[in-house]
Assembly symmetry: C2
Homo-oligomer: 516 residues x 2
């Protein structure tokens, strides 16, 4: 824990008798530390291929350029930095974007209000955050528009999920709250129902500003100016376009030293070329330009190089998930990010299935494994994603969250200590014996194997007598059980009161809008 | 195609008018070529760790030794080679097993009766074969004991599965046929209902001999003596024991130049130490001894170094699948196999689930991805495995077989040609455009993306109107459709008649036994 975090922790816990009572009665749910990989990444491109892609990416920036529409401030910054400006088009001389990117940190800490839940994003680490953005939810009762009540439930489940390090952002769209006010309720939920790190609003620059101000209440103004307490999602309008609203949000965050994921959103064959290498080239160009722009706004602002990439089904036009082409792009982008010395965001619990069935699980497992092996540092959408991202699914949320435990186990790598080598056990047991009772097994069995908290390992007869339940039914029970056991993490009541007052005041200051 | 295979092909196709008529009317189903990886393997162990494991493995062989019970012939061969024999125990001086293993080929061709379906096992290749061994089957109607009719259906499905290169062996146990006769019916099914390569019987040395003799009818005696036409599964009784029946089968196959997979069957924590490095050490010792023994029987006999490894649930004692520990062992064993310059068998559509549901798919996808990345050369059980291997599932067979297509796509790696780089497309489309209609997309879209033949990519409304089917229901329809479209591959009627006569004669020569 940093000294600053330690100081903040003491301060926020010192909020009077009510806070101390709250602290005493609060139940803390175990959260695993973010993954620190002890296994290598899979590298699918050799140095020559990487150099070609990087060269082509800079050719794109120099010859074709990128658009920054409706954003004279951005154009001015680019002009000053040495780019060629024609209308909205920014052409960036070879080498400039790469040079600008060098001031972005290779690793940063995103602080949580509970310092034990702070995460280090970058290096060999992997931080897992839940699904982001679906307008619908699904549970045992079916599919429907998401509400704020659903949102709160997801934040609670995320808080209670051992292998999830991050509370996320728009876990689902609370469609019953006006568009111009829902960011306030969402942030309040992350801040009060969980103590894990979270994301800020990006749908309007003023909402990014609200996010910063709410963080100033939660963490203290000085702390926020000196530390990163939000990581927010800035999508690039592929191909090669930087939307002024998204850039406006990025500007707010960068100026306030808050982190952004700068991420093309690509359905391959529609927003990028139909080939893997072509998509990688466009991703490289777009993220170079986007990260460079963040550094023009504020040198040293923390950013994550992102890539959200799916394939397209050329028959139906539907985006497809868990495909080999998306995997290859994810591996390749990881290599590009490491050469740029930037944290990397990609992968997730991606699937196209309408139900949390076998299709969903194949596609998701393909994508989660790929994310671990590709060296992803921040995995948004790591649980709960369904139906191409249209649906946040309660059952799949706990199913995926359980599988995230397997990633933790795999990332540990192989223990080569003497205890790991187990020669004494092999000597003790000998040919034809068995290991169940031997001393080494007894000493190690509790920690030797990752164990699911959801999946079924029972004998067939027991399983059959208990109703022969499939994974969805097991997951549905687990959702109900977790929500019934939820307890709110301690928060200084004075801070909570200030947050609620801020939200109420903001809401009262403007009419409802359900359009934007 | 080798000259020999070419010659055989001409011969077998020259079997008179009936054969020519059969050839004209036969429908050929497309089968992909075995996977030739254009991506690297994931290497989780460094050289130092590998050297420790190898050193420890030889310590086991030298100090603890391995058992070859009820097998005086094996003990004599070992003694002659320089091992120390005490009772059934064989202690192998450091360096000896490794030296003996050097005569095993690093790669071999297993010929199919259709030369286009022959496979190269070793190097960067991956050959996919179906599930092996389950006494039960499951379909839309539920779980029941497997019959010969089920077996035939699985062979037909395997023959029609594009991404499956191999017909396998005991795809399920036909429990309605006497144990001492079922190998004959199973081989006849592989030989007549499919034209893909297959496996021989290992349940008795005499049944291995029957397998060889049936191949001599199918391929010609001389061809079988000079070429490998079967790859059969020889399990080691872990820890460190080489069962005389299995070794008897190995002896028959090795003497006849037929391939064996020499494979420990390990539930970690029961048949091997509870730690990953300890299990790897035991696997290394057991496969060193087993492969060395195959070379004592016949120098140069083709073998595959295998590892069937699962974890154990320490609460229930049930084997568990798709776990991180099994993955790490699979990665590590791949590295050991490559250092021994041997083909490697591991992974599969492993799962513990009772149903082809999300649990089954997560576990299976974890295991299939791991198999590809671990450098596996021969993947038995690559489709259809359910319930810890107790059940061969029809729906899961086609679900997994479809996912095997994704492995083919991933293994292709990234096309770095000018067409792959797609710079013309990026120039054509420019910022804010879209790629769907551009020339490059039109020229490439048919081959750009792997496409499932099973999973659902339809819009929600269409899917909902069509009944909102889950993956199991889609798979059940696909099974029925495939079986209704099945057509037998061409086979010279004279050969088929000889095979049937052999089977009948063998069956008539002995009383039924349902026990062994």
């Amino acid at each position: 824990m940093s000294d600053v975090a330690e100081g903040r922790s003491r301060r926020s816990r010192g909020g009077g008798g009510a806070a101390r009572r709250a602290e005493r009665s609060a139940v803390s749910f175990e959260t695993a530390k973010y993954i620190e990989r002890n296994i290598p990444n899979l590298e699918v491109l050799d140095d020559e291929a990487l150099s070609i892609i990087e060269y082509n990416a800079e050719t794109i920036l120099e010859e074709i350029g990128v658009n920054f529409p409706e954003n004279p401030g951005a154009l001015a910054l680019w002009k000053e930095a040495g780019a060629d400006i024609q209308g909205d088009r920014v052409r960036i001389p070879r080498g400039l974007a790469r040079e600008l990117c060098k001031t972005a940190p290779s690793k940063f800490t995103q602080h949580a209000r509970n310092p034990e839940r702070s995460v280090e994003i970058g290096g060999k680490n992997l931080v897992l955050a839940p699904v982001y953005g679906p307008p619908f939810v699904r549970d045992a009762g079916g599919r429907r528009y998401a509400t704020m009540e659903d949102f709160n439930k997801f934040v609670k489940l995320g808080y209670m999920s051992k292998w999830l390090h991050h509370s996320g952002g728009t876990v689902c769209e609370p469609t019953d709250v006006p568009v111009n006010k829902r960011h306030l309720d969402m942030l309040l939920a992350h801040m009060t129902l969980s103590d894990k790190p979270f994301m800020g609003s990006v749908t309007e620059p003023s909402r990014a500003q609200d996010s910063v101000e709410m963080c100033e209440i939660l963490f203290g103004k000085e702390f926020v100016q000196n530390n990163t307490v939000m990581t927010s999602l800035i999508n690039i309008n592929s191909p090669l376009t930087f939307d002024s609203i998204m850039m406006g949000a990025l500007e707010v965050y960068a100026k306030n030293n808050q982190a952004c994921i700068i991420s093309p959103f690509i359905v391959g064959g529609a927003m990028a070329p139909v080939t893997v290498a072509g998509t990688l080239t466009q991703v490289a160009a777009e993220t170079l330009a986007g990260v460079a722009y963040s550094q023009l706004v504020r040198k040293g602002a923390p950013v994550i190089m992102g890539a959200f990439v799916t394939s397209i089904d050329m028959n139906s036009g539907a985006p497809t998930f868990g495909t080999p082409e998306a995997a290859l792009i994810t591996y390749g982008t990881g290599q590009l990010a490491r050469r740029m010395n930037l944290p990397y965001r990609s992968a997730g619990s991606f699937c196209g299935s309408k139900l949390p069935d076998a299709q969903a699980a194949y596609e998701t497992a393909n994508s989660l494994n790929m994310g671990l092996m590709a060296g992803v540092n921040f995995m948004l959408h790591s649980c709960g994603w369904l139906e191409g991202g249209l649906v946040a699914d309660f059952e799949k949320f706990v199913m995926d969250a359980d599988q995230l435990g397997a990633l933790h186990g795999l990332a540990k790598g192989i223990d080569m200590t003497e205890n790991g080598q187990a020669m004494d056990a092999i000597r003790e047991v000998g040919p034809g014996g068995h290991y169940l009772g031997c001393a080494h097994t007894q000493a190690n069995f509790k920690t030797a194997f990752w164990r699911t908290e959801l999946l079924d390992y029972k004998p067939f007869e027991t399983w059959d007598e208990e109703g022969g339940r499939d994974t969805r039914q097991l997951a549905s029970s687990r959702v109900d059980k977790m929500l019934s056991q939820y307890q709110q993490p301690m928060l200084d009541p004075i801070i909570e009161q200030k947050l609620r007052a801020f939200v109420q005041e903001k809401k009262d200051s403007m009419p409802d809008s359900f359009s934007s």
